[in-house]
Structures are given as C-alpha cells and as structure tokens.
C-alpha cells in the first residue's frame, strides 16, 4: 500500500513538474495544480496511512493523525486561491502581450 502510494505521488509530481516547464501559460497552470495535488498527497501521508480511522474524539483507539489533515485542508484552499490568481494573471498577460507565452514574447509563432 505504501509503495503504491509513493509511486502515485512520484508520478503525479513528475507529470506536474514536466508541465510547469512548458512554455505556454495554460499548461503551466495545469502543471501547478497537478503538482499541488501531489504535494497535498505527500503532506497528507506524513501522518501515515490509516484505514478506517477517526479524527473525531470518541474514546476508541484507531485514530488518524489530525495535524497533517488540518495542514492539507488549508493547503487545498490556498492552492485554489493561487491557481485562480495565476490563471487570471495568464489571461491578463495574454490580453496585454497579445500571446500566452510565459515570457510574454512579442513574436507569436502559432
């Protein structure tokens, strides 16, 4: 289970980072979102993988680690805010520069 989880995180990271290295804004935004999924999964696993556990205090034994969960919860929401900001920035950049290259290049080779 842990091996599978780790491989998944690794693949998502690799795909996300590959996309962030592209030259157009939209794939970069998608790549950032994908990377943030991978990062969230990674952070989440820092408390270990718990099956059928609880984060609600009721007295019985099997608890999941609540701290990474709380951190990841805020990370998800912040991630959304950042994605939104970057994608609107990309729109603005396209409207100002006339193309959607990450460097805002003048010549558009489309």
């Amino acid at each position: 289970m842990e091996t599978l989880y780790a491989i998944t995180t690794g693949v998502l990271t690799a795909c996300g980072l590959y996309l962030t290295l592209r030259g157009r804004t939209f794939p970069v935004v998608v790549g950032l979102t994908l990377t943030s999924y991978a990062v969230n999964l990674f952070l989440f696993s820092m408390g270990g993988l718990t099956t059928d556990g609880a984060t609600i205090v009721h007295g019985d034994g099997n608890y999941a680690d609540p701290l990474p969960q709380a951190l990841v919860l805020t990370a998800i929401v912040i991630g959304f805010a950042m994605t939104a900001f970057v994608v609107i920035l990309a729109m603005r950049a396209r409207s100002e520069a006339g193309n959607d290259h990450v460097d805002g290049k003048k010549e558009d080779r489309e």
């Binding site: 842990e2 795909c15 980072l17 990674f42 929401v77 939104a84």
Partner: protein
Amino acid sequence: MTLLWIALLPLLGVLVPALTAQRGRTLCSLATGIVPAIALLLTLMQLPALLAGEALRVSVMWLPELGLELAFRLDGLSLLFNLLILGIGLLILLYAHFYLAKDEPYGRFYAFLILFMASMVGISMSDNLILLWLFWELTSLSSFLLIGFWSYRGDARKGARMALTITGAGGLALLAGLLLLGDMAGSYRMDDVLASGAQIVADGRYPLMLALVLLGAFTKSAQFPFHFWLPHAMAAPTPVSAYLHSATMVKAGIFLMARLHPAIAGSELWSVVVPLVGSITLLYGAWFALFKTDLKAILAFSTISHLGLITVLLGIGSPMAVLAALFHIVNHATFKAALFMSAGIIDHETGTRELKLLGGLRKTMPVTALLSTLAAAAMAGVPLFNGFLSKEMFFTETLATPVLGGLSWLIPALAAVGGILSVAYSVRLVHAVFYKPAKEASPKKPHEPPHLMRLPVEILVALCVVVGLFPAFFATNLLDLATQAVLGEPLDFHLAIWHGVNLPLVMSIIAFALGFVMYWRHADLRRFLQPFASIDARRVFERFMVTLSYRAEQSIAALDGNSLQRFMSWLLLAALCMGVLGLAQMDILSGSKSNQPSDGILVFGAAMLIFGGIATAATHRYRLISLLMLSIVGLFVALTFARFSAPDLALTQLSVEVVTMILLMLALFFLPQRTPRESSPLRNVRDMLLAGALGLVVASLNYAVMTRETLSISSFFMANSVPGGGGHNVVNVILVDFRGFDTLGEITVLALAGLAIFKLLNRLRLFMPHSDGEGRVWSPDRYPAILTSISMTLLPLALLVSAFIFLRGHNQPGGGFIAGLITAVALILLYMARGVEWAQARLDFPFQPVAVVGVAIATLTGLGSWLFGYPFLTSAFGYFSLPGIGKFELATALLFDLGVYLAVVGATLMILANLGKVTTAHRPVTDPIESDTPAPTPAKEPR
C-alpha cells in the same frame, strides 16, 4: 514618561502637516511647528534634573528576545543634540515657509522634514544599540525623500539615490558593527556597552567591529573617501541642506563616535585611523571649497572640511579635545545653517547661486550681506565669534596630541593648512557675492527677502556673536553636561576669549595672513590647477553603478536567459540536487514499518491517478482534454483522502475540485485552445528526465517517511481537543483554535487573492472566440432547461446542507471552509444555469465586502480574547440549554469559523462571478476616480 514623549512626539508630528495641508500654508506651518516646539520645551524642562546629576532613562520592552527595547535616555550629549535638532528645526520650518514656491506641496515637505527630525531625535536619545540603528536608517530614508523632493529634476533624483546608496550601505555595515559590539559587551543597553570599554577593546573582534562602526559613521558624516555624496545632495531644497547637511544628519556620524567614545575609542587603532581620516577630510574639503563656484557647493565642501575637523578632535580623544569637538559641533551648526539659509535667500532673490554671476549684492541686500559676513567670519575663526573659540581649542589640542608618535607634528601642521584654506574660502565667499562688483546682471533683480524669512538667520548669527563674546556664560553649562556624558566624569574647564600670546594664536594669525594672500592670488591658483582635470564624483559613481547592475544582469542572463522555463529548470535542478544529497545520506530506504496490504480498489485508484496524471501531461497540447484528465486526478485525490480516514479533506477537495474546474474552463475560454508545438525534442527529453528524476526523489522520500515510525505531536491535539477547544473534530479544532492564527493568515491570503483578481480583471480587453478549437460555433441553447430547474431546486437544499455542515463542523466532519465552498458552488451553479444577467438582478451585491467582513469577524474574534486578558485567539466555550432544543454548545470558535465561512464564500465568488462577468456587459471596470494616473486637482469653484 516625559522622555518617551520627547522621543515619540515628533514621530506623531509627521501626521500634523498631512492633516492640515489643505487648510492653507500659514496654518499648516504653524501647526507643524507646535510639535517640535513642545518637544523642545519638554527637553528644556529636564535641564534642572540633568544639572542635579540625575540619570534620565525610560525603557519599554519591545522584542526582548533580540535585545531590542524601546529605551531612551537624556544625558548631556542627547540634550545638546536635541537642542540643535529641535531648535534649528524650528528655524528651518519658519524659513521653509517662505522658501517653497506657492504651488509646491508644502504639506509633504513638512511631513518629510518632521519625519527626519523625529529620526534624528531618536538617534540622539536611543538607549539601545539596535534602536539607535533603526532611527539611523530612518534618517537615511527620510533624507532620501528630502534630497529628492524636487523629483522632476534629474540631479535631485541622482543625488538622492547616491546619498541613499552610500549612507544605506554604511548603515548596513553599522548594523553588523553594532551587533558585534553588543555581543562583545554582552548587552545592547547603552549603559552596559559604555561601561565595558576595556573588555571591548581587549576582544579579538575589536578591529572588525571598529571598522564596521566607523564605516557607518564615516559614510554618514561624509568623511573621505565617502564624502562625495554630500555635494550632490545639494540638489535638495535649501532648507534641507541647511538642516540636514550642516546642522543635523551629517552630525549623526560624529554623534555616534562621541556616543560610543567610552566604549570603542580607547585603542591605538582608533587614535591612528580616526585623526588621519579626519585630517584628510579637513584638507580635501577645504581645498575644494576654495575652487567651487556654486554657493551651495562651496558650503558643502566647507561642511565636509569642518566635519573632518571634528573627527580629528574625537580621534585625539583627550578630555579637552572631546570638549572642543562638542563645542565645534554647536558652533558649526549655527554659522553653517545661517550661511546655507543666506545662500538660499540669495538664490531665491537673485535667481542664481553661481559665483560668477553674482556680485555687489551689498548695495541691494545690505542686511543679508551683513549677516552673511558675520557668519562667514565665525566660519573663518575671527576672534570674538564662536568659531574662533573652538578653532583655538582645536589648534591647542593638535599641538598637544601624541597620537602619531614621532610624526605627531604632522597633525598641527595639517590643521594650520586647513585653517589657511578655511580663511581663504570664507573671504572668497563673502567678497565675491557681496563686495566685488558684479560682472553681469543676475537673472532676477535682487532685493531683500521678507523679514520673517531672514529672522532664522538673524537668530543664528546673534548666537554666533553672543557665544563668541560671552562663552563662559552661554556655553559652559551645556558643554559641561555634554562632555560629562561622553567622558563619564566632570571636566574642569574654563572658556575664555583671551589666553595670552601662545602658539595657537600664532597659528591663527598665520592662517589669516596666508588665507588672505591665497584669496588675493586666487586667479593664479586657478590657472595653476587648470591642467588637472577634475573628477566628477557623480559620473564616476553613476558609471560604477551602471557597470555593477549591467554585470549583475549579465550574469543572471547567462543563467536563465530571461526565460521562465530556464529559470524553472535551474530551480528544479537545485531541488533535485538537494533531494539526491539528502537521500544519499540514508543507509537504507525502507524503514522498520512493514507495508500494509493493498486491495483491488486501492490498485484501481492508484492506476486511475497515474493514468490521469500521465494523460494530463501527454495531452497538454489539447487543453480541454488535458483539463478533463486533470479533473480525474482531482476526483481520485478526494477519494484517496476518503479512503485514508480524512473525511474533512475529502469534502474540501471535492468542493475545491468543482470550483477549480469551473475556473479553469472559464479561463480556457479566453485562451488559445491548443498549445503550439514549440519545444525541440531535445528539450522535451531533458524536461522529462528532470521531472522524472524529481518524481523518483519524491516517491523515494515519501516511501522512506511512510515506512518509518514518526514521532507525532498529534497526541497533544487529541488529548486537548475536547477539554481545551470544546470540539470533538480534532481537525476543525486545530484549524479554528490551536492553529487559529494560521487559518486567519490563510483566509487573509484568500481574500487578498480575490481582491487582486478583481483588480486584474478591471478593464481587461479580451479576445472572445465565437467558436471552439475545432471551429464549431457555440450552442445556441445557452441556458439548458434541465440545468436551470435543477439549480433552482438545489439552491435551498445546498444552502441548508452548508448550514448543517457549518454547524456540526466543530464535532463532526465539516466546518467553515467546507460549508463556504458548498455555498459558493451552489451560487455558481445558479450563475451558470441562468446566466450572469439573471443572477445579477437577484444577487446584486458585491462580494468584496463579504470576504473582508469575514476576515474582520475572524480577526475581531481573536482580538476579543484580549478583552478578557487572554492571548490572541484564545477560544472560550460553554454548554447551554434551551427549552425545546435541549443542551447545546456555544464556542467563540464558531464565530471564528463564521469568519472563515464568509471569507471563503466572498473570495470564491469574487473570483468566479467576476470572471464570469467579463463575458457580459457587467464586466468590472474601475471607477474613473481610482484610475492610476493622478487626476488633476479640481480648480476651486468661483464664488
């Protein structure tokens, strides 16, 4: 307490001109003057206590962990400087009232001036090294604003930049020096530092510390070779030059050397370096003052020279030399400020400061001529003026000093040369402007300035004369206090005009004789100097700065080529190296914990995630498909959270997934649908290798962590959630209680992102395609009937669900974040199903205030705990019972969560609804009032 007021009143005074600037200049000037006047009065009121020998200190803890206190002291030295800063500051205000032209923003000017005054008072009164440094930097910044006040002038901008670069760099060196000094003394308190002089000098780090501190002092006080910023700072309005560059700011370095004298001066190194640098500065400044033709430049170089003189005295460091230094600080401030102000008057009334264009002003401006002559006489050191007294003391001390061993005769010799030059340039200044007949007419017809504008000069010149005539009566007490503060013990001295015929007097006489000769043969000297090309310091400096930034840009460009892609590659490569380095240090990758067994569903989920990820990357050129693949990943991430016991996360991820996808779809509408094939195959392979390697590192790291026993602090949260936070859902209690401050920061970021997006969408010009990537036109059925009716039915249900999720959040999965997202999704669905127009008509309120109110509620909840004497964001809860409802719990955390809820709803809708509106007539546009270019001030309506 009074001390605190003296130090902080001027800071508050910065607001006064800003508030009264609209009420006319006279009122503004008067109101601005009140604060320094009060501070001056309060300072003077401390005089009896000081004379009685009390140590006046006040201290408020600020950051005790860093040794930083808001600590102020008032001793003789601070008193002396406070009188200079506040007293001359008041005169400058009066002068500036007349100096600035009608249409200049005097309110801003006064505000900068008072800010500068406040920071100088702060330096003079600081009782803590770090606090002193803070005020020191504040003087650099405020002087930057003042020098560059006429920002439309290139020389003002360059001069300001140069001054800031030099003094700012010196300030950084000073910070390092002061930190070292505090470390060596074991405390940042002034008293402790001053008391541990022997220990400091014996420390091995002493030379380094001294070099750093002196760098700070020398740059600020324009000592050679850092003097060159001062002449260029003359681009400032003359009140600024008179105030900063004669009386106060350039004295800050001197002040620092005097203040720290007991702590750092007692070494061989000090008594060699400081007098030498001082002497060079003294001669260099005086020499150039003799040949400049701009009035203010002459005064600037003469200031450099006099600062050098004071530095020599402090370097010599004997008790009498310290006394002479302090005396000369006061004397120089009085006559130099007077001269600067006269130069300003001449500039103001004739339209030029160029010596070649001036002459014969004695006839048209007799009073100014008299005043300037008297002040210049004080500068030259004519007997019966204050400058004479301190100069005689200076000569005496240079004769007595043993600092350079067998070469000690060098110092009085240099001092005598300095004296000759100073006589020569003083004579030249006065004679060429007032007495020599003019060669050509000045640009404006000269006449006397308004009397009140001359009043500050009159007061200062009167001081020069009175102190020169009756030094014992006017200066003794003040100097006694000040020297006592520097030396730590009372000094027995007697100020007198006549000491009999002695060597210093002979030196003075020689200086006068040769000085006059030098001015008489000035033309010959100029001819002699002609072949030597003069160096324009500003050009050298500018060239240096340009080269520096060019080199920096080049070396950066060599790395990233101004391309984000290359920049990212470097970043990722660095991350890869760090990760590999970390992994390589591990003995074995897998830890002691064994793998848990997998089942079919898990394998399926992992396969879907991997498929989604790879497909997203592989199809990135077809953007819509790539986006759909991304949504698979998002969905399965949510399921993963659900599978591994994180219901809160699953709910959040699911709702965020919805809004993210809607957002990206909307954005994609305005962007190209396809990505052109641009990267070369080589680059693609390289990127794949880099990303793949990083994926491997992340996977290994993740595996390594998961198979090891982790030491978690979560048991604390588990144990304290119910008794401490009053909630059973530990995740939610962590968010709103234990780590509430993080959450507050986070919703602030969310609201800020929303506001930033709102601004970015303003006046956005967009290309709106009429068809999709394949060339098919959009469906004419814009609002499908099924979606419309479902969304209407769903809205109340969704709102009810979000209320339920919100309320139960403290004890069951849920909470403000999730509830906020559900509400936002429901409203967005309405927008999508019915269109912006329809929703706009029914939901016509801006979402910005909602988000802001949310953050405000959360903040106020946190602040509320202060009212009860608890730390920020302490939550309280209790159990109540109502008939019919039963027992229930109320916690302040719920209120905090309400803030979170509102912030999330507000920010999300601000982002999505505004983006949606871009397609319609309701697109956000800025009001003409808040456009970027400042609107011309509307003319007053005729009555």
